[in-house]
Point group: C2
Chain length 910, copies 2
């Protein structure tokens, strides 16, 4: 038989004051965060009220055995309960000097307010008398008892709060009491009777046969029954709805379970030398090195939180008569804790009749600004290393610092909400088309572009707008991706919006509001809120601390960071944010806007005809300048330029619209010949699955001269820059390669174009690199063949995710990701964090590519390049760099440093 595992662990002192603690801070997967830190504090001699912790594993076993305790667990709990009574020299339920305990949850990761707590456990008809004897305060005792009945009934038995609120309100009315505190001891005793009656009425005998006394359910008098029911309630709370939702939002595993802490009660409400409070060892908002917190004299913890009485600032404590020493002791505790944990700590304490107890400590939550400040100053103080400082700041936190934010103090009228697709906030007039957005901004007006969903055609309008709001599409919809790429705030998938773009208005379902063009709205891309009217914004700041930390991060990381930028402005911005090059310049916009007509002419002409070649020539002329500006902005740094990728029908009107126009025109007897012809052309280009159609390198192979034109324009721009004494580093990227023969062909064509320009301009252009975007499974498994013809690979993980899973994000995110997430089938959105199956293919491609070309450059330019979890995986698989949107560059720099530190163990978890 296997050795039975330990399920319960003691903490605190015994009757002789000896430390009998069995755990420590490292044991948080067993004891939960709270239990582990209680043990740790007891180990370092801090005054922790004694108790014991039931392990998380017990919870897991209990849950998976259909809410039954594992063998031996109940006996072990009883033993530790008896032991605690012995250590305290008191018995639970005793009528002379009763021991009261709290029963609290405590999971390995903090889940504030998500699970249940029961205080004052152990009170019954006998022990309430014992409490009176001990405190000499009858009212306090009855008040504690009625609080316990209420809390136990609600938390453990699920009786609605309202019954108790109504009952005590009735009592107040009966006695003309304004507040509960105005009720006398006797009156409070009556409340207890009322509460017990509610308990008997509301708890069903069939659910709790063990509580039936004389044929009626009665409030349990047996302390063991109270304790075991409370423990079960805490275990069950692990799987209540709000806990499940919280875990999903915070990516906490469902199978960790929660521990239960059973701890001796101490009372901050035993008179003027009693108090309770919460504190941080530094300012959690700014990171300033000051003790920071609040307390209340003669109060219980819940009173501080409830905010009924005004709290005092923590620095006043040591000036409070009778509490001077305790105030100083507390400051010593702060210093000791910081030194011990080497981090800013969050503390709950109670002073019971002049004696200080620490009820809880944990690493304090903090704003991004504070996280930076604290990490940097702790390095200065010699508490932690630079590496640990970098490790302490979460990459995702930086996002808060990099976008304009809604002023939290501002009033706002939230009328609908959607997905928080791209962080930051925007205020502007509603416009319902990209053209209107452009026109309005040219007049100097600020606008929010409101669309059903955006398309590549909307790009100009999206650039012009302050922010983007859509009624459809998920977090990786076109609007969301482009917005994040531009660093523009975006709220998408606001289902309540009923947009009528023709009428230039949008009704908001569930309200009387109809937004018209020109109406001011605000959107918060960080929360997903749509706000009626303007709201005050605060601008992002790249503070000195951020710069310092990122410089340290740069020293640590081995993974390079580039940016995805399609125009010189974004390129410059990304340089400012520390990008070491451009990992993806999509040249689509060089084919859109006023050039769209040229492209349409080219498509409608016969391949290779005079009209076709003329259109190509026109594009060559204009594109040269585009590439020149881009390469100039990134002088001295590499710039990957992707050859034209999107399918041709994106340059033509939508067939359905044309078909309707034709049908309606015919019905009206109009001449629709021209539209019908355009429809025919558009239908010819239309594809059933455009994602899997004639696009990427296929396009440039099938359309004669299309690739050569682009490469010639890049080469010509280089020649001009070289002659100007500059240092361009373009890398021509061939998209969507599946076969060796494709890259071989396009590379050959490209090399010819480069040689032509080098020859005619008399400039050496051999520095131009040629590589490919790896975004198809076939390219990954055949990388050893493709790598022979590539100077670099850049992983297009968006498309690779789509083809690896066989789903298109346009189609499936809204349709089944929600269900899949709810059913636990898909735990992480693979478009947000790169999937491990996709990573296996990336890994094969890395190995295959390097075997063919040991000097192969390896990067990733998909959306995942800005996601910290993905960056860690890319680091592991051995890429040279990640590339992300300019605004994500600081995040990626920090995440890359974290990836490099992942194998290091720091004393405290991040």
């Amino acid at each position: 038989m296997a050795e039975a595992q330990q399920r319960v662990y003691a903490f605190g002192t015994d009757a002789q004051g000896n430390n009998v603690t069995e755990g420590n801070a490292q044991m948080n997967y067993i004891l939960g965060g709270k239990g582990a830190n209680l043990a740790e504090m007891a180990q370092i001699g801090l005054p922790v009220p004694p108790g014991f912790t039931i392990s998380c594993q017990t919870c897991v076993e209990y849950s998976s055995a259909d809410n039954t305790f594992p063998e031996g667990a109940v006996e072990e709990i009883q033993k530790y309960r008896a032991d605690l009574e012995e250590r305290m020299g008191k018995r639970i339920g005793d009528d002379e000097d009763p021991l009261l305990v709290s029963v609290r949850s405590g999971a390995p990761f903090s889940m504030p307010g998500m699970m249940d707590t029961v205080l004052n456990l152990g009170l019954n008809e006998n022990s309430v008398q014992g409490l009176i004897k001990q405190t000499g305060n009858e009212r306090f005792a009855w008040d504690s008892y009625r609080r316990f009945i209420h809390m136990f009934s609600n938390v453990v038995m699920g009786v609605e709060d309202d019954y108790f609120e109504d009952a005590i309100a009735a009592k107040r009315e009966q006695y003309g009491a304004k507040n509960d505190s105005d009720l006398t001891a006797d009156q409070m005793k009556e409340v207890v009777d009322e509460y017990k009656k509610i308990f008997s009425e509301q708890v069903k005998a069939e659910d709790y046969p063990q509580l039936v006394v004389d044929g009626e359910v009665a409030f349990p008098q047996d302390p063991d029954t109270q304790l075991m029911l409370a423990i079960e309630a805490v275990f069950n709370s692990w799987n209540n709805d709000r806990a499940i939702i919280y875990r999903k939002q915070n990516k906490i595993a469902d199978d960790l379970g929660t521990a239960v802490n059973v701890q001796t009660m101490v009372f901050g409400n035993k008179g003027d030398t009693s108090a309770t409070g919460v504190a941080f060892t530094r300012d959690a908002a700014t990171g300033e090195k000051v003790f920071y917190g609040d307390y209340l004299i003669n109060a219980q913890g819940e009173d501080v939180v409830a905010g009924i009485r005004n709290t005092s600032p923590i620095e006043d404590l040591k000036h409070t008569p009778g509490l001077e020493q305790v105030g100083k002791d507390l400051e010593d505790v702060f210093v000791l804790l910081e030194k011990h944990y080497r981090d800013m700590m969050d503390i709950e304490f109670t002073i019971e009749q002049g004696k200080l107890y620490i009820l809880q400590t944990r690493v304090g939550k903090r704003t991004a600004v504070a996280a930076l400040r604290i990490a940097i100053s702790m390095v200065e103080e010699g508490l932690i290393s630079k590496e640990e400082a970098v490790w302490r700041v979460k990459p995702d936190q930086l996002d808060q610092l990099l976008h304009p934010q809604i002023d939290q103090k501002a009033e706002k009228n939230v009328i609908a909400s959607g997905l928080n697709a791209s962080p930051g906030a925007a205020v502007g007039e509603c416009v319902f088309s990209a053209d209107d957005a452009v026109a309005a901004t040219e007049e100097g007006r600020k606008v929010v572009l409101v669309r059903w969903e955006t398309t590549p055609d909307d790009l100009g309008g999206m650039i012009a707008a302050e922010g983007i709001l859509t009624s459809h599409g998920g977090k990786t919809s076109h609007a969301a991706v482009i917005a994040r790429g531009m660093g523009a705030p975006c709220v998408c998938g606001v289902e309540a919006l009923r947009i009528d773009a023709d009428k230039k208005e949008a009704a908001v379902a569930g309200t009387d509001i109809v937004l018209h063009e020109g109406d001011i709205i605000s959107i918060d891309g960080t929360t997903g809120e749509l706000i009626y009217g303007p709201v005050k914004l605060v601008e992002p700041e790249l503070t000195g601390d951020l710069d310092t930390l990122l410089t340290w991060a740069d020293e640590i990381r081995t993974l390079g960071v580039r940016a995805n930028a399609d125009n010189p402005e974004d390129a410059k911005l990304s340089r400012e944010f520390g990008a070491e090059g451009i990992g993806l310049c999509r040249n689509e916009h060089m084919f859109l806007g006023d050039r769209k007509q040229i492209v349409a002419d080219m498509i409608l002409a016969e391949n290779g005809s005079d009209e076709y070649m003329a259109a190509l020539d026109k594009l060559y002329e204009v594109q040269q300048g585009d590439y020149y500006e881009m390469l100039k902005a990134m002088d001295g740094l590499p710039v990957i330029i992707r050859l034209l990728d999107p399918p041709l029908h994106e340059f033509l009107p939508a067939p359905r619209d044309l078909a309707i126009e034709v049908a309606v025109g015919e019905a009206k007897g109009e001449d629709v010949t021209e539209t019908a012809e355009l429809l025919e052309a558009a239908d010819a280009q239309a594809e059933i699955n455009p994602m899997l159609g004639l696009r990427g390198c296929r396009l440039g192979i099938v359309m004669p001269g299309l690739n050569a034109m682009q490469v010639r324009a890049i080469a010509a721009a280089c020649a001009k820059l070289v002659k100007e004494g500059r240092d361009p580093h373009p890398e021509v990227m061939i998209p969507l390669v599946a076969m060796e023969s494709e890259i071989e062909f396009v590379r050959g064509e490209s090399e010819e174009s480069i040689a032509e320009v080098a020859e005619s301009e008399g400039v050496d252009l051999s520095f131009i690199q040629i590589g490919t975007m790896i975004e198809l499974p076939r390219a990954c498994v055949c990388a050893d063949e493709i790598g022979k013809h590539a100077d670099f690979f850049s992983f297009g993980t968006n498309d690779l995710t789509q083809t690896t899973f066989g789903f298109s994000r346009d189609d499936v995110e809204g349709k089944f990701f929600g269900d899949y997430a709810d059913m636990g089938i898909m735990k992480v959105n693979p478009f947000a964090t790169v999937d491990d199956g996709v990573i296996k293919l990336v890994d094969q491609a890395v190995r295959g590519g390097r075997s063919a070309n040991p000097d192969l450059g390896l990067g990733i330019c998909g959306e995942h390049g800005g996601d910290p979890d993905s960056i860690a995986k890319f680091h592991k698989v051995g890429l040279d760099y990640v590339s992300c949107s300019p605004y994500r560059v600081p995040v990626a720099r920090l995440a890359a440093a974290h990836a490099a530190l992942a194998d290091k163990e720091f004393k405290v978890d991040k």
Copy 2:
């Protein structure tokens, strides 16, 4: 310095009659097929006119060096020419006894008529006199000379035939001659003068400066010049257009090159003891063991082919006065050759004044029927083993035997052609909709369904029709795939068809023909022809030989063969063809037809609502019967039933049609509320990339109860069969699994459903297998996780090809496969033969799956299951079986045997 490779090889005897041959039959990659067999025949003592062969490698070097001979090659040729003159005791161009030679191409693979030949080389003003002296036949000499000038001018110099035809016609007119043979020697000499004049006029001095004499181009008199120009012409012919096209069609590599055979001329036209002929050692049409062929007395080879004179059957030869012995000798040659080559041989021979010469032999081409007969009788004769007999018959040939064919003797009016998408022929009335097809067949009429392209909705009509004809789509379009699956003839992508389905007519571009409903047409799916009017058909026969050979194949193969069949009729047929189970039963049709409305009701109802559940219940009732019939038909054999796979919008009307209806209705002021509502529902289900949307297992996971319903219906059908004493073996296949969690969920649901039915029916149903279709790259790379929950994997290589390459066959086959093939970027259509990149993923999945479950069953049910080249790859990767359409089962059985034999070396290549 490396040893120079040998470039020229002698064959035949020397002056003393000793064999000086340097090659043999195994050297066909060096000597070409013709040269290798000439050498082999010389080695075994057959009378081959002496000569030499210039290697294929010389051609390759010549072509890649921009048509320049490699160093030393010219000298080596000259040496072998001189040697040949010495062996023959004659000199080329000699005015007493000139040596004449033929110069012929001969590639490693037979490319009949694709490349060039020059006869009578060596004739000039001098040697024509020598020829007169030797033959005493002045007319013969001048006729030979004028033939040589014509052939040389046309083949070597590219002068059009017409000039020569016109000149000799003028001469005939001048002298009142009816035929060329009526021209006298002197008149023929005048023709020679005319021909030389044409040569001088048509050949440009700048192209051939070496031919300029006295400022004018003259027909080359120097035999060396003639020879080298002729050799270069043969080399160049390797890259002429028709050779390139032939190679592409026949999958022959472009880099093999052709050899050149320079061989002493012998003449079958030297009087009545001279003759020329071609023969097969057995009947090439039936395989019967008879000598088979034709000859002409006093004629040259080209006369036999030209068909001007009636040939005599070969058996007459030995009864021809003066040729009795030669006739018997020839039969001895036939016997010797068959015994030596152990195959049916094709022979060209010439008799020059009573002496027999063999000019060429090769393995004879034969019909499928003959291939079977010959292989089997050679086993009976002890010439070859059963294994070799199986190896001799090409799997693809069997296709000819398995579909009704157009009677080759019938007259036919071909009005257009398209792709030969599914073999066999069909005759019937045109119908332009699936409903019309069904209605017509119910009236007992035979129809050909004519559609722009088919959709799953057309299935009923496709089943009803004799054959399918479409104007759009490639060889793996819906129409083509389904037609092959059903064994129905199909011609698709007939671009000349202008179909107006509403008017029920189709114009045929380039003709005046308009096909109306009811007009009779014929289609030949083997050739791709569309024929106006009816044509006589011949029915397929499963002859005893086929059965014999397939039985042998079954003994050899290790790969199992199942069939893809969706209904009991196809299942029965596949059993007859030897299928060992059903590898894929798509249950889509159980949701279509009269059930489509139930499915539409389900989709339009809210998930899980009463209406929704009612629709599910209705489907359960009808599907039980479907599964019962299917499993009954395959009693005792495994049947894989795939759970519902296609996206839901296939069950709703097309949004574009509805949108037009709404717009037109609105324009006319009609009430379109209902249509608008349906449009909204259809739009909600519409997907941008349906291939990558909500389909496969996703559907059954998101739609509550959908999977359970199907599995319950299967289990109920099994319970009924078991109670009837039958032996059902269903295997439930979960489609489109990407993640372990998906199969885990669906398997759990399925097991519950099976257990429920087992419980309620009191029958053990634990024999029902549950597995998954592996058709996504992620499933392949994560097969070790997915395999934990699967009893079997079946590879869906159609979808796997699409996602691995990132292209949808609906979109790309017509769009860029043609260009890709022309440019050499894609040499094989990956939807026809499984791609090696896809195979890498299959291989990973096989290894991953087996590591998780060593008992995992492994098969493939994609279209590739019936393709011999793919079957070889699946054998190699270690699958248990392939599954293909019923009509491909015999092909697959044979191909599987070939795969097992692939490593064996038989003396003669298949």
